[in-house]
Symmetry: D2
Subunit: 303 residues, 4 copies
């Protein structure tokens, strides 16, 4: 079938490729003309305006937005609306907050459009290995897109599902990312302990590879970690700085709103925040307290 | 080659089977005569005394101890010593504390024996899928056992390695288990959040299966979790009670000794402790404090 | 000077008393007629309608709202507005979210009213010991009320201050409560460890009293805790159940929004959530995972 | 009565002074001759050998050791033993691990000496405000020293107590310090959040002073914090570096051994460890994982 894709970055472009390889017609737009040219060169249809995107698709259209969460999604919808027809479908495949999704679903449904949310996991490996798709929305809209899901997922019947009403897809993806934070922190802490045990002179790369087979902690993340350690076994030259992209903190807030205690996912986020706090104020406060009650040394910055 | 195995429980028996299938001669001892009879029936040699175990192996012998950590290991060594000859090898394949292992290695080496430690992961699935083996000890002793490692591991060259001197195998296995605690807690928290979001009526089993393919959080643990949810999707009737077997708490203590901050592994252990605290005293203390400063209700147990 | 007070509960009534003792005229309203009668009996003016409240105060009026946060504040403002005159002042002395406060300040200012926020700490002890007051709002409005602050605080020049623009008072009070959560959890954990060390047979009440004098951990909370342990030294019969009233969770969310890592305040909240989760789902998930990979016992609830 | 003191540092010297002011005879030893000269100048007896220390005390002697925990205590005992007589008493007033204390108590008791442990809190303020004393040991030995406890404590009947058998004093002091870690972290996090809320331009010093009176979080630590902020309101020039002296980590380990979940005390320790990890390895591990699965930027150190 036909699919429009808006946003041909790391994720969007590869998804277009995977759909094309499965025999679907993809029309792709991006503000970056190199990206659309590359899409055209690869055998799909790259266009440089939303109007052209819509024109190149037959109704009822399905347009997949793969743009940063927040305002860009609202802006894209606003720009598309006048070009689209009732019965067309918006798909938000990015990492939107599920509450925004539910708001947009209500608004677009009222205008006669369909609105589907798809939490999309797989990163830069999705082209080759397929994407894990967590889909929310009305059944009519979701079901009509089955060929798309089946092509993007790792297999026709694996790695995708309609998980619930509007917002459910993004909610499940949000939690997925929260779990991802916790797993990454657990592995990273373990490797730090191994590295710190200097008398044993352990080889982290060797250990990562051993664990890939037969161990309880084997996983795709561990496979990638072993590969990354092959290239940089000491992590020399890297900065201890970890961003977070929104879904981790939404998971933490949501857990609190639901009265669910989620200490490990929360702590994983907190450590990312900590990685970005320079000359940590909390530690300095503790330092002056120790100085005040016990006369302990308050360390000063070197000049 | 030949291997003696002491301890034919869930792990030991399956290891014997996997070795036998690879063409090795296994002589197995257990206090449980049913287990040794079963081993014999399966084509290996089950014996009912350590003397018989030693007699049935040619020197230099290698004897794998698969017994609970702590005193049982010391006791087994003490019972075996008079029966063995210089040049024979003890292998501790259980979850011993690496400090005990280093102590035993020093003592047995001084007496002319070899002492190898092997952290063994794979659980009840090892017979079929192979075991991940993290091996510590002197190269002479470890290398001589290569056929054993190659047979137990998932493949001749995968999933096993000599990671360092005595204790290194158990140290790495200890950290492996610490990571395992963190991963389990991360998944479990995520599923709790999904379940608590009642308006979306999410199907945890479906989601676990979706994530198995193409997602960033795919792992062997997730595969098993999906399978377990197939059998009991609601977890009704289960108790919220999680034991810990030693390696998690050793990892936490070791991290502190090494001055490494490992909050997620630590918190995962703490939550297991919490699961076993009945009518939590800490919470009751907070309750009386709230009553004392703010006149807030102090809840009483129902009679 | 004159002050209207709406809400004569545990906090509001005592504040009225303290103001009266300092020579101020207090007019108090509550839906509970017993409370207003009691106020009148005590020498202040209890009234049973907002109209009477306003009538009994001379312009420019100052009316202190001591009502639950959220809708009750908005409702109270809406009901008061038609009765009040330009130049009158609303004071929100409750635990409102500072964002609501800033919204209300903007709305009321636009209508010609003043709007002051006052974070009020001191609990049921404030009548006797005075209240700690963290005040936000425009200087004109705040300064005019100096006699009120001086009367409510522990002393004319102690325990109160104009900390910033609108919302600042409630923001500071929010963080105050976050700290309070952390302190309570720290004490409670310590007492739990003492109690668990059964071979030493420690007397928690005795220890709390020792720490009250000369120790680094002495505090008002500890004084109250010692007093509470005097009355119930074992905490027998109490339920391990701890509510949270909003400000703790706002502090946690705010810290994340500000990219500040606040693990201890956060964990203190998480433990309160945990205290209210029955037959914890997270623990049950971990239990089935352990069963799945290691064949470990999955505990069932007793029937 | 008479008391020998070994170790005239910040704590020991002030304790000698406080005892002298209460009318007791103090004989003090230190390796630092300036300290002993200063003690003599102040009206007590400073000596430069343990032999002189013992000679200047009448039997049965009581000798208070105020030396670093660990080997220095064992060494001091070994040096004193040949000089002392049966019936003399050792007092360990430092921060020894209670397990060491119990071992020493058993050894010294077997040799006919008394051995008392005294957890001592109060820091550099003890001379003026008195020390909080948590005393463990046999009643005969402890009771005989009542005049000493009464003089050191904030008042004859306040701030000290015989809390249990040998080790109990140091155990209670250990937990006291664990609580102290948690309280400090809670305050410090709160002030960090206040500081980060830049639009409100909050004055941390003002707020600390407000909270000193009437608030739920008032405490001696807060008093000291307010004073420290008076001197350095921005903490400019200080390093975010926090040592830990042993008792925090013992509390954490002990909680685990007792199967008590103590997340806040534990996290407070972990944050101190974190403050001393340079270019955190855990964060760098997470960074390469993010790069590996999502193509996210892996930040490099500036040259």
């Amino acid at each position: 079938m036909e699919l429009g894709i808006i946003g041909l970055g790391k994720m969007g472009f590869n998804m277009a490729e995977r759909l094309k390889l499965a025999g679907h017609k993809v029309v792709g737009f991006d503000f970056n003309k190199d990206a659309t040219a590359k899409l055209t060169a690869s055998g799909s249809v790259g266009v440089n305006s939303l109007a052209d995107l819509v024109k190149n698709l037959s109704a009822p259209r399905a347009i997949w937005m793969m743009v940063p969460s927040g305002d860009p999604v609202d802006q894209t919808i606003a720009n598309l609306e006048p070009l689209m027809q009732k019965g067309d479908t918006f798909i938000d495949g990015g990492n939107s907050n599920y509450k925004d999704t539910q708001r947009r679903h209500a608004a677009e449904t009222a205008k006669g459009f369909h609105y589907v949310d798809c939490g999309t996991s797989g990163g830069v490996w999705g082209l080759k290995e397929g994407y894990s798709l967590m889909i929310g929305g009305d059944s009519e809209a979701v079901d009509r897109l089955n060929p798309i899901w089946e092509a993007l997922a790792p297999a026709k019947d694996k790695g995708w599902g309609h998980v619930g009403p509007s917002g459910a897809g993004h909610f499940v993806k949000m939690v997925h990312n929260g779990i991802e934070y916790g797993m990454m922190q657990a592995y990273a802490e373990g490797f730090s302990i191994l590295k710190a045990k200097t008398p044993l002179d352990l080889d982290l790369t060797q250990i990562a590879h051993i664990w890939q087979y037969g161990s309880v902690v084997r996983s795709w993340l561990l496979d990638l970690t072993a590969g990354a350690l092959d290239k940089n076994p000491t992590l020399d030259g890297l900065e201890a700085w970890v961003p977070d992209s929104g879904e981790g903190r939404w998971t933490v807030t949501e857990a609190i709103d639901l009265n669910i205690s989620a200490p490990v996912i929360t702590e994983s986020l907190i450590r990312r925040l900590r990685s970005r706090e320079e000359n940590n104020f909390t530690d300095r406060m503790i330092s002056i307290m120790r100085g005040a009650f016990g006369g302990h040394e308050v360390k000063k910055l070197d000049n």
